[in-house]
Structures are given as C-alpha cells and as structure tokens.
Symmetry: C2
Subunit: 354 residues, 2 copies
C-alpha cells in the first residue's frame, strides 16, 4: 500500500475481516420489463405449466403487453432500479436483453434503457412471436426488415429463443445470420425444454454463447466441449420452472467453457442475485465455489467480450471489487440468501455500501 | 387510524407502497453453533456425501468441537448475531436447538444462549453420539441422568434425530418419554434420509411436530394426516443436500397440519431466510404463496405453542409486523433473494429498518 501512488482525494475503505472478490458479471438478464408476474408465480405453484401459461397469452406475452405500455423514461427508470438491486448483490456489470417489445419502438426503447442504465444491450428480437403476426416467419420478416438496422446500432449482440412454441433452428439460423451480417455477436437460448437443434446451430455459426442447456444430451455436451462456444447455465430458471438442471459437470469434465448467470426476468427467474445463483451452482450443478466464482466473473466477462478488462483483480483490469462481510470468500455460495455484500467498488469508486 | 387510542410517544411508520404481513416465525433452527462449515460445503459440492463426512468426523461432530470450544458469552454473542440476520429477513420469533454440545456444560450453555438472545430453546440432547461414548445407549444414559434435569428448566421442548447413524426409533422413544415426564413438549427429526420409524413414534407419543420428512412414504402421509402432529418442511436442507423434497402436496391434500422452517445450521442449511424458504416451498414443494405464508406464521407459532399470540395480524395478538417494500405480499416468495424487508416491528417497537 505504501508504494501506491494515488493522486487527488482518496477514500480509504477498511476491509479488515472482509474478503475481496472481483465485481460480479451477470451475462444473461432480461432486466428491462414492465409489471411483474407474481400472479402467474402463484398459479404455477398450483401446477400450471410455463408452456401452458404462454399458450394462454400469459408468460412472456403478458410482459410484452406491460412493456409496450411503458414509455422510454419508465423503462429506463425500471432498469436503473434493477441495476441498484444487482449492485447490492455484488454485480458490477450486467447484460440486458430486449425481447419484451417485439415491435420496433419498444425493442429499441428497451435497448436504449439498458444502455442508459449502464448495462450492455443484447437485441433479443426473436424471443417470442407477438400476437399481431400469424407465424414466426412473418414476424422475422418484420424484425429483420424494420428493426435490425436500428437495433444493430444500439446492441452489441443478438439473441434468439430456439424452442418449441418460439423459433425453430432454421428460423434461428435466418435471424442470426442476418444479425451477424449487421455486425452483432451471436447468442442463443437453447435446449431449455426440448433439444431443438440450437446447440449445433450455435457451433456452426460460431456464436459467443448458448444459454440454458437444461436438456442437452451427451452429443450436445461433446460438441460444445470441442467448440469455442460458452455454455451459460441459468440454474435459477431451472429451479423456478422445475426443469432438470443442465449437465454442468459433464460439460466441465469434457472441457467446455462455462459461465453462470441469473436469467433475471419476471416470469421464470425473479432473482437478480448472482450469490444465490452460485449457491445453486454448488448444490444443484455440482460446481465448486471456485468454479462458480470463475463462471460469473472472468468467464461471464468473456461472454460479454470484455475478458481483457473485467472479471479479475489484476493490473490493467477495471477496479471492480466486492467486499464480502464474511471470513471466507466461499460464503458467496455457502451462505444462501445472506446479506454478505459489505461494499461495492466500480471503476475505482465506492458505489454501494451496506 | 383516527379511532386508535395510543398513549405516550408514538412513532409513525409510512407504509405507503408497502405490504404488511405478520412477523415470521422460524420454528426449527440450529442457530447456536461455533465456526462454520464452508470447507465442508466446498468438499460436498465435489461429491462427498453428508453421511460420509459425518462418518469421517466432519459434519455435526466438527461443529460440536467448535461449539464446545466457545464459552457461554461467545455462544450468546453468536446467537445474537444470527438473530440480527433473521430479523433482517423478517423473522420476529425463532426457535433454537442445542445439540452441538452433547456434554452437560455445552448443552446447557447453548440453551442459555438461545434464551438470552430472545429465542425459544429446544433441548436437542439426542442429535448425534459424541466421540466419548461407544454407542448411542451409553450416551443416552449420560444425557438423561446428567443433563435432562437442568435442560428441562431451560428448554420448552425436546428433540431427537431419528436416523441411520444417529438414534433409532427405540432410542428415540426412550429419550422422548423421559423428556415428556420432565415436562417438555416433544419434537422429532425423522425420515430425512431413511424411513426409520420416527413418524409412527411421533404420533404414538403425541409429539408437537415431526420435522424433515424428505423420504416419508404414503403410509406415513396417511398416518400424519389423521394425527395432530405438525409436519415441518425444511426445503433448504433438501436443496443443500440434494435430497428429495418432502411430499408436501400429498400431506396437505390428506389434511395434515404443515409448517415451514429454515433449519438454519452451518452444515446442511446455511440460510437464515424464511423468504428464501417460502420461494422453495412454492417452486419445489408445490405450495402456493398463501400456504407458505401460513406455514411460517400461524402454523409455525402452533409448533412453538404460541398460536394464541403470534403469527396473525389480529386483536389480542402481538404487534409483530413485517413491512415489505413490494407492491404485492407474494414477493415474499416470488422475489428470490430479494431485499424486500423494509421494516420490522416486534411487540409494537421498530426493531429493524432497511
């Protein structure tokens, strides 16, 4: 400390008795949404399935209605509020997807809101087919002709939900190829409920990540392990929906690149906490606390194209630091629901203190 | 409000935009323990089983060593710290068990610590067989002859761990009958890993509760449903250990009395949060948010013999109130890991504010 040359006013933080870890990176959130889905959560606990609710106009489409009804300013305020929640759990960098607009104006408003709130925007233009369109192909015609051009100026990546009832692999390919040609990095939601060809598509298109993977089988594991595509696990969503957990140990053993994220959204994962996600990684995915920490710091930074600046406490990296009020950094995963974040530093400035 | 006659200085709390629920009641915790088991959590994520760790001198016995090494003052300070954690999650009443002493001095010190910190003490004299004794019967001779008399003056209830590797049903009967004769209410840990006869024993002895029930089969469900014994679910422990979840829906459908608790302890459930427990009740046990709230308020108060004073917002009941910073009280269960407790009132006094 004595050798540090610090210019100007310096605020000292007493970290005695605390543990320091890199600022957490949440590489997969849907943090821009109108309203909540507490009523749906209630109904699902009584046995209604996620796909049934979606087919009945609930699920994603109910959030689409509420998000379209909110204006630009309200959407920005919502993401800012959620950024505050995330910060209190140690998240210093977050990605935020569109996908609850599904019309030109709201998709672009979501991307602007995420950006204005300091997040990294991803255009999830292919999240669901909105009610104005008869079929997925007609909607994709619209999205690629009317929205992509502007979305590509705001977003860093494009994402698609390859799933029964959403978009099939061929539609995913069409969407992603157009987005790649517009300069966007590619990501996919795949294998959440059914193995629908999203994993081979991700590898073929050299996507940055393929996320979910709850039902990925041995062939998908082998293929991912020999690719450069990062497998992103979202165990909170599997917990909320009662899905199987993704084959994390098999993927790690086979040599895949893996990351962890919250999937924060109002329907299937109303949880902004990466520490809770780390607990599930250890208790449900068989990951060690160290593997979980890597997966939501440096590996998540890689998914966001920032592994050279974020996710490590090292010279040349951003001074994004979380101080845990705990005798052991592993409390991050061990102490489920614990209020362990004592202070958060982002870019060298104290931005949250308990 | 205008008709309320309030004497003396009154502090007004602005509850606009908040939801009020009764103070939460945690009827099953092991909140008095020395040290942590973060290292064991790490090893278990790598595949070591809870029973293997216990057999190797880890598990409960490692906490016994640390708890014996702490003095009375330190144990009291530990429970007070944990009480503060619980309060921040909305818990206004908690039970705390002994069972990490297993010698006369430490068992009594644990009960005093729980009481001094404002908890309701339960003598878990039959938690495990400590290393000084060759077998469970020899240890029970000691506990019932040397500890019971003093423990019965401090505790309200007695508890036993009926499980392979701990105490069998006959040993449980011997312990509980002696405790009943000393005036204690009876509780049991049963059917966590194996169906070991704890459920019929609980019913036969008219115990207040039987807790865990992860592997309880159809016969146990039928028997409990036609009894007055409360079934206490501890889903955080099942999550940490990867056990099956207890048959909550079957028990509720059959008419059993059910309660929820954290099982807060350093090994199998390092989680003091009843809101997290409510989320698991909805997502893993198929309970509705309303069923979960009842299970950790009025029904948990019944387990602690206080259903006439705690667990409801009603005339004649204690003014124990939690204000949630949420538009809907169901956020308690819906918002996993959320920092939703804005204020806590206990016995009419503001005791926690965010």
């Amino acid at each position: 400390m004595r050798d540090l040359r610090l210019a100007g006013d310096v605020e000292e933080i007493d970290g005695r008795g605390h543990a320091a870890i890199p600022g957490l990176v949440d590489c997969h959130t849907h943090a821009c949404f109108g309203a909540d889905r507490a009523e749906e959560f209630d109904r699902r606990s009584g046995g209604a399935s996620y796909e049934e609710l979606h087919a009945a106009g609930g699920g994603i489409l109910s959030t689409v209605r509420a998000t379209r009804a909110a204006g630009q300013d309200e959407l920005t305020a919502i993401v800012e509020r959620h950024r505050g929640w995330m910060l209190a759990h140690g998240t210093t960098t977050f990605e935020g997807k569109s996908g609850y607009g599904l019309d030109r104006e709201t998709e672009l408003a979501q991307l602007r809101a995420v950006k204005a709130a300091g997040g990294i925007p991803t255009w999830l233009g292919a999240h669901a087919v909105p009610p104005e369109f008869d079929n997925a192909d007609a909607y994709l015609d619209f999205a690629l002709e009317e929205v992509l051009h502007e979305a590509a100026k705001l977003a860093e990546a494009a994402d698609v939900f390859v799933e029964r009832g959403a978009f099939d692999a061929e539609q995913g390919r069409r969407y992603l190829e157009a987005c790649r040609d517009a300069g966007l990095t590619l990501r996919l939601h795949a294998d959440q409920f059914t193995e629908g060809g999203g994993v081979p598509l991700a590898i073929e298109l050299n996507a940055r990540s393929v996320d979910h993977l709850e039902v990925t089988g041995p062939e998908g594991v082998r293929a991912l392990a020999s690719s450069d595509v990062t497998a992103v696990f979202l165990p909170v969503a599997a917990l909320f929906l009662g899905c199987p957990m993704p084959p994390a140990r098999a993927l790690i053993a086979a040599g895949a690149i893996v990351a962890l994220a919250t999937d924060f959204n109002p329907g299937s994962a109303f949880c902004e906490s990466l520490p809770v996600t780390c607990n599930l990684a250890c208790t449900q995915l068989g990951m060690s606390p160290a593997e979980a920490l890597v997966a939501c710091t440096v590996n998540a930074a890689h998914v966001l194209g920032r592994a050279d600046r974020l996710g490590r406490l090292a010279p040349g990296f951003a001074a994004d630091i979380v101080l845990l009020d705990a005798p052991d950094w592993r409390y991050l995963a061990y102490h489920l629901g614990g209020d362990h974040v004592a202070a958060v530093v982002k870019d060298g400035a104290l931005v949250h203190r308990r």
